[in-house]
Amino acid sequence: MFTVLLAIGILVVLSLIFGGILGYAKVRFHVEGDPIVDQIDALLPQTQCGQCGHPGCRPYAEAISNGEAINHCPPGGQATIQALADLLDVEAIPLDGDHGTETAQRVAVIREDECIGCTKCIQACPVDAILGAAKQMHTVIADECTGCDLCVEPCPVDCIDMVDVGITAKNWSWDKPQGVAAQSLNIIATDRSTEVSQ
C-alpha cells in the first residue's frame, strides 16, 4: 500500500514540477501572431495580384491557414503548390484553372506616347511600381513590377502591355538533362562504344 501511495505521490510531484515548467514556458516563449501564416506568406510569390480572390498574398496565406485550398496561386505555379504542400504536409494538387494559368514571368510596359496621365494604373499597382503624375506620362519601374496585371484593366486608353521577360545571356540557365532515357536502360556500359559508333 505504501509503495502505491509513494508512487502516486512521486508522480503528483513530478506532474506539478513539469506543469510549472510548461506553464512558465508558455508565458516566457509566447509567440505573438500566427507563425504558420508567416511561413505560408514567405512561400507565396508576393505578386499581390489577387488572382486567388484575396486582396494580396498575406490574406491568402491567412485563408490557407484556415483551410483554403493551396492551388489558387497561378503566379507561384506548381512550384509554390509543392512548397506549400511540403510545409503543410498535405498532398500537392494541380493548379486550379479557375484562378488563372501559370504564365512566364512578365512585366507591364506603358506605351508612353499613348498615356494620357490619368493615374488610374498608379492607384491600381499593389507595389507602387508605376511612376507618374496627373496629366503627366507614366512609366513602369520594370525592376519593381511583379507582373500582376492589375494595371492593365483600369487603363482607359489601353496603353499598357504585359511583356514576357525574355531570356538573355545574363538570366539564361542550363537545361536539366533528359535523365535515364528509356532505350538506354536496355544497354550495358560495355555496349556503349558500339552504340556510339553506329
Binding site: 505578386t47 499581390q48 542550363w174
Partner: protein, 746 residues
C-alpha cells in the same frame, strides 16, 4: 632557383592531352577580317556602355565602350576603322543567344591612337597603376574574365603571403598559355614583377605543369637572366591543376575555404595572359585588343596558335586554319572538358577565348546515353573539390535545392572530372549547372518577392494612414460643428429641439427673435423629417429581416416622430402667421439684390453654355473630318449631329445677344420666387442631363473614330443618345421659356 615543395589535391583525372597538334606550327597572325564584332559583355559583371555611335571613325586602341559600375571593364577598338552597327549579334555563350555588340569595319590602315604608357609606374601609387590597368580594359584571361582592377584591389584586404601565376593550363588540347610563355617570356616576367609591385606579396610563384618543357626552359632562362626572385614550380600533369583553388593547394598546401576567395587567405592568383596584358598596358600603353588563341581539332588541316584581334569571327579563324567542312562535327569554344558547343561560327573571339576546338566525329563522339547510377563512387574519387557528386546528383535530380546547397554544390568548379569517369555516362556537370542556376533563380525570386512584399506593405501602411487622417479630419469637423451648435444653443436658449420649448420660446420671446424662432422651427422640421425617414428605413429593414421585437419598437418611434413633426409644422405655420408682414419688409433691398444675382448668374451660364456648344461644334467637325478620312458609313450621322450642335450654339448665342429681359422687379412675392427657384433647379437638372447626353455622344464618336469595326452598334448608340439629347433639349427650352415667362410676370 630553389626547388619548392609541391603538395597535392584530392581527385583529378588524366585525360588524353592532345596538346602537340597545335604546337607544330609557329604562332600565326591571321589577316584582318571583314568586320570585327565586339560584344559589350566580355567579362564577368555589368556590360560596358558604348562610347561610340554608328558611323564613327575610330583608331586602333581607342576606347569604344566604358565600364559601367564597379564590376565592369573598358573596351577598345582592335583596329582602325568605322563603326557600322551597334546591334544584337550571336555571342560565344553556351545558350547560343545574342547580345549587344559593337561592329567595327576595319579600314586596313591599322592606325594606332596615341599610346599612353606609364614609364614611371614604380614611382606611382599602386591605385594609379591599377586604375590605368582598368582603363586599358584588362580582365582575367584564364577563363572567367574577372576585371583585374577589382581582383587587385580585393587583394589588399589582407597582407598577401603568395602571389601565384597560373601557367598550368591543364585542359587537353589548349596550348595558348604555353605559346604565350614561349613567345613573350620577357614580357611575362616584367608583367609579373609589375603586379608584384602592386600587391607586395611575400612570395611570387609560377605554377606550370610538367608537360610544357619548352616553356619551362624559356622561363628558367629568362628568370636567371633577370636575376628574378620569382619562383618557378613545376607541378605534375593532372587535370584540373589549372583550377585556381587546385593550383593554390598544389603550391601552398592551403585550401581556400568554401564560399571564400583566395584573397581571404592572403593569396592572389593571376593567369599568365593577364600578366602579359598588364605589361603591355603599362610599358607600352597598349590596351587589351588581342590575345593568343589555340585553333585545334582534327577538322583543321593546320592547327596552330594565333595572335588574334578581339572580335574576329570564329569562321575567319577556321578558314585561316584550313577547316575541312565535311570533317567538322562539333565546334567547341574552350577545351573538351569545360568548353561548350557553338551553334554558329559567326561568333567573335572575346577576351577570354583561349581555344577553338573543331572536332570531327571520332574525336568527340556524341555523348553516350545516360544510364542509371550504379553507385560505384568513382565520381567521388575524381572530384578535385572533395565533394560528393553522387549525393549532389540525387539532390539535383529531385530538385532538393536546399540539400544540394548544404552539400556545397557551389564549391563545384564544373571541371567535368566526375562526368569523365562516370561508367554510366551521367552528365553530372550538366545536372549541377542546372541546379546551380535553379538555386540562383530561387534566390533572385526570393529577393524580388521580399521587395514586392515590402513595397506592398509600405503602400498599405500609407493608404491606412491616409484613411485615418481623413477620418480624423471628419471627426474634427463633426466636433467643431457640434460645439458650434452648443454655442448657438447657449446664446439663444429659446431654440431647443423639442417642440414644447419651441412653443414656449415663440410665446415668450420678443419680436426680433420671432424670425429666429421661425428659422429654428424650420430646421427642426427638417431634422424631424430626416429622422422620420431614417426610422422608416430601419422599419423596412426590420420587416425584411423579420425582427419582430424591433418592428414594434420602430413602429412606435415612427408614429411618435410623425406626431412630433405634424406639431412642429403647425407651430411653424403659426409662427409665420404671427408676423407675416415683417419678413419681406425686413429685407427688401436684399431680395432685390438676390433677384439680380440669379439674372447675372443666368447670363454667365448662358455664356458658358454658348462656349461649350461652340467647342462641341468644333469637336464634331473634327470627328467628321476623321470619319471622312476613314470613309466610315456614319459620316451622315455625324453631319446631322454637327448641324444640331451648330443650331444649338446659334440658339445659345441668340439668347446671349438679347440678355434676359427680366430685370428684377422691385418687389417679389415669396411664393413667386419659390416657384422660380423651383423652376431654376429644374432647368439646372435638365441642363445637366443635356450635358451628360452630349458627353455620351462625344465618347461614342471617339470610339467610332478609333474602332471603325463596330461602327454599326456604336452609331446606333449615338442615334439613341442623340434622341435623348433632343428630348432633353426641348424640355430645357420649354423650361427656360416658362422661367422667362414667370420672371416677366413677376
Amino acid at each position: 632557383m630553389q626547388t619548392a615543395q609541391v603538395f597535392s589535391f584530392h581527385g583529378g583525372i588524366h585525360p588524353e592531352e592532345n596538346k602537340t597538334q597545335s604546337l607544330q606550327l609557329p604562332l600565326g597572325k591571321p589577316s584582318l577580317p571583314k568586320e570585327l564584332i565586339l560584344p559589350l559583355s566580355q567579362h564577368i559583371g555589368q556590360a560596358s556602355v558604348p562610347l561610340v555611335a554608328i558611323g564613327d571613325q575610330v583608331l586602333k586602341g581607342a576606347p569604344i565602350a566604358a565600364n559601367n559600375g564597379l564590376l565592369s571593364s573598358h573596351l577598345h577598338a582592335p583596329t582602325s576603322g568605322t563603326i557600322t552597327a551597334i546591334e544584337s549579334r550571336p555571342i560565344a555563350h553556351p545558350s547560343g543567344l545574342s547580345d549587344l555588340c559593337i561592329v567595327l569595319q576595319p579600314d586596313g590602315k591599322e592606325t594606332w591612337t596615341e599610346l599612353k604608357p606609364l614609364p614611371n609606374w614604380q614611382q606611382l601609387d599602386a591605385t594609379e597603376v591599377i586604375s590605368h590597368l582598368a582603363d586599358m580594359g584588362i580582365v582575367g584571361m584564364g577563363g572567367a574574365g574577372f576585371p583585374t582592377q577589382v581582383k587587385l584591389q580585393g587583394a589588399h584586404k589582407k597582407p598577401l603571403s603568395h602571389f601565384i601565376i597560373n601557367a598550368a593550363e591543364c585542359e587537353p588540347y589548349i596550348t595558348s598559355d604555353d605559346t604565350l610563355i614561349r613567345e613573350k617570356t620577357r614580357e611575362l616576367v616584367l608583367g609579373i614583377e609589375l603586379f608584384q609591385h602592386l600587391v607586395q606579396a611575400e612570395q611570387v610563384t609560377i605554377g606550370i605543369e610538367d608537360n610544357k618543357p619548352t616553356a619551362i626552359a624559356a622561363l628558367n632562362k629568362t628568370l636567371t637572366e633577370c636575376n628574378s626572385k620569382i619562383q618557378l614550380v613545376v607541378v605534375p600533369t593532372k587535370y584540373p591543376s589549372g583550377g585556381e583553388r587546385q593550383l593554390i593547394q598544389l603550391l601552398t598546401g592551403q585550401e581556400v575555404p568554401s564560399g571564400q576567395y583566395p584573397a581571404d587567405i592572403g593569396i592572389l592568383c593571376q593567369n599568365v595572359g593577364t600578366c602579359v596584358a598588364g605589361y603591355e598596358a603599362v610599358y607600352l600603353g597598349k590596351p587589351l585588343i588581342s590575345r593568343i588563341t589555340t585553333l585545334t581539332g582534327k577538322a583543321l588541316n593546320a592547327p596552330q596558335n594565333v595572335d588574334v584581334l578581339l572580335g574576329t569571327p570564329v569562321a575567319h579563324l577556321l578558314a585561316y586554319a584550313d577547316l575541312q567542312e565535311k570533317q567538322l562535327n562539333r565546334l567547341i569554344i574552350g577545351g573538351p572538358m569545360m568548353g561548350y558547343t557553338l551553334d554558329s561560327a559567326a561568333v567573335p573571339i572575346v577576351k577570354t577565348t583561349n581555344c577553338i576546338l573543331a572536332a570531327n566525329k571520332k574525336e568527340l563522339p556524341a555523348p553516350a546515353p545516360e544510364q542509371a547510377c550504379i553507385r560505384c563512387g568513382m565520381c567521388e574519387q575524381a572530384c578535385p573539390a572533395s565533394l560528393l557528386p553522387q549525393q549532389l546528383l540525387w539532390f539535383s535530380k529531385s530538385q532538393e535545392l536546399e540539400k544540394a546547397e548544404h552539400y556545397n554544390l557551389f564549391d563545384c568548379i564544373e571541371c567535368g572530372a566526375c562526368s569523365y569517369v562516370c561508367p554510366s555516362s551521367i552528365p553530372l556537370v550538366q545536372y549541377y549547372r542546372h541546379t546551380k542556376s535553379s538555386i540562383r533563380d530561387a534566390r533572385e525570386a526570393a529577393v524580388k518577392s521580399d521587395l514586392a512584399k515590402q513595397r506592398f506593405e509600405a503602400r498599405k501602411a500609407r493608404q491606412d494612414a491616409e484613411a485615418a487622417e481623413k477620418e480624423a479630419k471628419r471627426l474634427a469637423r463633426q466636433q467643431a460643428s457640434a460645439s458650434k451648435a452648443v454655442q448657438t444653443k447657449k446664446t439663444a436658449p429659446a431654440t431647443k429641439t423639442t417642440e414644447k420649448s419651441a412653443l414656449n420660446a415663440s410665446n415668450s420671446e420678443a419680436a426680433p427673435q420671432i424670425n429666429d424662432t421661425t428659422k429654428k422651427l424650420k430646421v427642426d422640421v427638417a431634422i424631424g423629417k430626416s429622422k422620420l425617414k431614417k426610422l422608416q428605413k430601419q422599419l423596412v429593414e426590420a420587416q425584411e429581416d423579420e425582427r419582430l421585437e424591433d418592428i414594434s419598437a420602430l413602429q412606435l418611434h415612427v408614429s411618435e416622430q410623425e406626431k412630433a413633426l405634424v406639431e412642429l409644422e403647425t407651430e411653424l405655420a403659426k409662427a409665420v402667421k404671427a408676423n407675416p408682414t415683417k419678413k419681406p419688409s425686413d429685407t427688401p433691398d436684399n431680395s432685390v439684390e438676390k433677384a439680380k444675382a440669379p439674372a447675372n448668374d443666368a447670363l454667365k451660364k448662358a455664356k458658358i453654355d454658348a462656349a461649350i456648344a461652340k467647342a462641341a461644334v468644333k469637336k464634331v467637325e473634327k470627328a467628321l473630318k476623321k470619319a471622312e478620312e476613314l470613309q466610315a458609313p456614319e459620316v451622315d450621322a455625324i453631319r446631322q449631329q454637327l448641324a444640331d450642335a451648330k443650331k444649338r450654339a446659334d440658339e445659345l448665342e441668340k439668347v446671349l445677344d438679347n440678355p434676359s429681359p427680366s430685370t428684377p422687379p422691385t418687389e417679389q412675392k415669396p411664393a413667386v420666387s419659390a416657384a422660380q427657384l423651383d423652376l431654376a433647379s429644374q432647368v439646372k437638372k435638365e441642363k445637366i442631363a443635356v450635358a451628360l447626353a452630349k458627353a455620351k455622344i462625344n465618347k461614342l464618336n471617339k470610339r467610332l473614330a478609333s474602332s471603325p469595326e463596330d461602327a454599326e452598334t456604336v452609331s446606333k448608340d449615338i442615334e439613341a443618345a442623340q434622341q435623348q439629347l433632343v428630348q432633353a433639349e426641348s424640355l430645357l427650352a420649354t423650361l427656360i421659356e416658362s422661367q422667362h415667362n414667370s420672371q416677366e410676370t413677376s
